[in-house]
């Protein structure tokens, strides 16, 4: 009970401090550079100042947190990428040279491209379909909750689940893996799915798609609901059927959000390692970059240089996505 009390107290303190910052700094800014009840020139000068400062007040905590928690580690990683195993000695591009010559790395790059092609597209696609369909039925919320469930399951739980799906038992004995049970029921021979090189990538991807569809669904569902109803009505009047409305009116209007979801999942795919780690740990040629990095970072004491070099590669891979996003943002703002 007492613990609960302290917990609530700390929580309240933490959140209030944050709220206080925003209210406080704004208040102070308006106190230092008042514009109410001042003569014109002074007021507009103060206003210009506050207008220049305020965005940074709003951004301040975010920038601080991003810098400390992400930018600083990135810089450290870049630094490490040019150093040896223990981060002591500068080795130039040696880690990168090793990397491109490493078969496993090349394998990972190949697999990662497969993942990038399949997972974001599939998860976004299913998320969109589900968001759109569940919007129209009375039990939509229940359906959504069920589809969201994989997201809520802890990672350990998820890996057990998929073990029970892909499990392989010898032909003739009872299959406890659902997939093999189905295959056998249809007269096929059981397969050790996750050990089949190349195809096992897809079996692993299924897991991520299964999880991330919930993410796409939630975000896209919020976006779909933001579409002005009148435009849908207008389309109905124009004689469009459900599919046409979906493809020609709804999708274009939430295109921005689709792009966001797609980007987010793409980036997630670049980072994903726990699925691979838990299911195959990159064996049977299913290695991906993030797992390879993790491997080099921490396995048996770790090689920070190579781990960081791979991390840097992953970060470099998002540059096209960043550029594309800048362009989008520019276009969006210019349009207003």
């Amino acid at each position: 009970m007492q613990q609960l009390f302290y917990a609530i107290l700390t929580m309240a303190a933490g959140v209030l401090a944050c709220v206080a910052y925003f209210f406080g700094t704004n208040w102070i800014l308006d106190k230092i550079f008042p514009s109410k009840g001042l003569s014109g020139a002074q007021a507009s000068k103060n206003l210009r100042i506050t207008n220049a400062i305020r965005p940074w007040l709003f951004l301040g905590p975010a920038l601080f947190a991003l810098t400390v928690y992400l930018v600083y580690p990135v810089i450290e990683s870049v630094w490490l990428a040019f150093h040896d195993k223990s981060g002591q000695e500068f080795v130039g591009f040696r880690n990168f040279i090793w990397m491109v010559n490493d078969g496993e790395f090349r394998q990972s790059i190949f697999n990662n491209f497969l993942w990038l092609l399949v997972v974001p597209a599939a998860a976004t696609f299913f998320g969109l379909i589900i968001a759109a369909l569940t919007d129209r039925i009375w039990w939509g919320n229940i359906a959504k909750t069920l589809i969201f469930m994989p997201m809520a399951i802890s990672f350990v739980g998820a890996s057990v689940i998929w073990k029970f799906i892909y499990d392989y038992r010898a032909e003739g004995s009872e299959q406890i893996g659902l997939l093999n049970a189905i295959v056998v029921a249809f007269g096929g021979a059981p397969e050790a799915w996750i050990t089949i090189p190349f195809w096992n990538n897809f079996f692993l991807m299924v897991i991520l798609i299964w999880i991330q569809t919930g993410f796409a669904m939630v975000i896209l569902s919020a976006a779909l609901r933001g579409i002005p109803e009148e435009t849908l009505e207008a389309a109905v009047i124009d004689g469009a059927n459900g599919l046409q409305i979906f493809f020609k009116i709804m999708i274009p209007q939430i295109w921005g959000t689709i792009a966001v979801v797609w980007t987010t999942i793409t980036i997630l795919v670049l980072k994903v390692f726990d699925i691979v780690l838990a299911m195959t740990n990159g064996q049977w040629q299913s290695q991906v970059l993030a797992n390879l990095m993790f491997d080099w970072m921490f396995r048996g004491g770790g090689d920070f240089g190579r781990g960081a070099a791979i991390a840097v590669t992953i970060m470099v891979l998002v540059i096209p996505i960043m550029v594309w996003n800048i362009r989008n943002a520019r276009k969006e703002m210019g349009g207003h």
Binding site: R54, F58, E76, I129, I153, G157, A222, I314
Partner: protein
């Protein structure tokens, strides 16, 4: 969209959603059923078989000779091969080589001259003319058809683990502020990036996108170093709730800012302009107009951030101590698993115990993902 609601194709929609829901829940259903099963069964038969009665082959070890009683001049060991569950015995055997040698009710001759009879209801008798010996009980192989059987033992085991309650509170203490703080910070930042004019705005957006990719693992060592430094400097412990809130905040921010900015940028400009003309400052606009109108986006992100912090173990282990007042639920549950992690039954049960809170959060926040929030605000478009 009443037009669509009346469409004759509605049943297609119902069916497709049903199908998708089935596909998506099937794996989880497997987990749920598995969590209700006997732990030995888990690795032996598929979870779907638990739903129907099944035939299973099993071994039972009869009591040792010590349990024999003398009855009518004969020595008898009796009992029932089915421990607790009901079911019918169809066949039995006394050797691993021929486990179904006898039909239920038949009598088998044991090597030492005793006779074994197993009835269909599972009761057995070993009858011998002489007193039986040996430290080892007779093994009885049997084939039984068992009706579905479920147990709450797995849950009981998890729920009764010591410190679970405290860990539950710890997890909440981590997750709630770790959800609210980044949302607050990100919402302000997103507003600035969406609607305020300042140099370098689109560059910042790109940086945020770029930071989405930073692997968490990369950050842990530098950050912990920093925490140790700061903690040492201030003379406070390095691992505090404050520290983990901030860490989760930092890791969650890029996604939060990215999602929220996208949403806010889509709000009708006229509403903001109208507020501006009404004399509202940026702060007023943000608090009174943007925040209420961004509820769908805030709610969606809150769901994800909560999920992530609730299910997180790595960050908690690194940035928070492991004392009773600090160990989070995931950590506690993982500790229940053996060092070699083979306790499927605990895994399955704890997966379901941890899923409840996020599902409640999802369900309660889902109603903020409303339709037509902006309806009636502007004409045109």
């Amino acid at each position: 969209m009443i037009g669509a609601a009346r469409s004759p194709l509605m049943w297609v929609v119902h069916l497709s959603v049903l199908l998708l829901v089935l596909i998506w829940t099937l794996p989880t259903a497997g987990l749920l059923i598995s969590s209700l099963r006997d732990k030995d069964q888990l690795a032996v038969s598929g979870w779907w078989t638990a739903l129907s009665s099944s035939t299973r082959n099993d071994v039972f070890r009869a009591p040792t000779a010590e349990a024999q009683v003398e009855r009518d001049g004969k020595f008898v060991i009796s009992g029932n091969v089915r421990d607790s569950d009901a079911g019918t015995i169809s066949a039995f055997g006394i050797s691993s080589r021929e486990p179904v040698a006898f039909k239920a009710g038949e009598t088998a001759d044991l090597s030492d001259g005793a006779k074994l009879t197993v009835q269909a209801d599972g009761s057995f008798e070993i009858v011998s003319d002489t007193s039986m010996e040996g430290a080892r009980g007779q093994r009885i192989f049997f084939t039984a058809s068992t009706p579905p059987r479920f147990t709450l033992d797995n849950y009981r085991e998890v729920m009764n683990a010591s410190g679970i309650g405290a860990s539950f509170i710890n997890s909440l203490t981590v997750a709630i502020p770790s959800t609210i703080i980044p949302i607050l910070i990100a919402a302000f930042a997103a507003y600035a990036l969406a609607w305020m004019e300042f140099p370098g705005r689109s560059l910042l957006i790109a940086v945020v996108v770029g930071l989405l990719v930073v692997p968490l693992q990369m950050s842990l060592i530098p950050l912990l170093k920093l925490y140790n430094g700061v903690g040492g400097f201030l003379g406070v412990p390095a691992k505090t709730y404050m520290g983990i809130w901030l860490a989760h905040t930092g890791f969650g921010l890029p996604l939060a800012i990215y999602l929220l900015r996208n949403y806010m940028a889509g709000l009708p400009r006229e509403i903001m302009e109208s507020a501006r003309v009404d004399g509202a400052s940026d702060f007023d606009i943000f608090v009174k107009i943007i925040l209420p109108l961004s509820f769908p986006a805030l709610a969606s992100f809150a769901i994800f951030q909560f999920l992530w912090t609730w299910n997180d173990l790595l960050v908690a282990m690194v940035f928070l101590g492991t004392g009773n007042n600090e160990l989070v639920l995931t950590g506690r549950l993982v500790n229940l698993l053996g060092s070699r992690g083979g306790n499927w039954e605990i895994l399955t049960a704890s997966a379901f115990i941890t899923i409840i809170v996020p599902l409640i959060v999802f369900f309660s926040l889902q109603r903020y993902l409303v339709r037509g929030l902006l309806a009636g605000s502007v004409k045109g478009g």
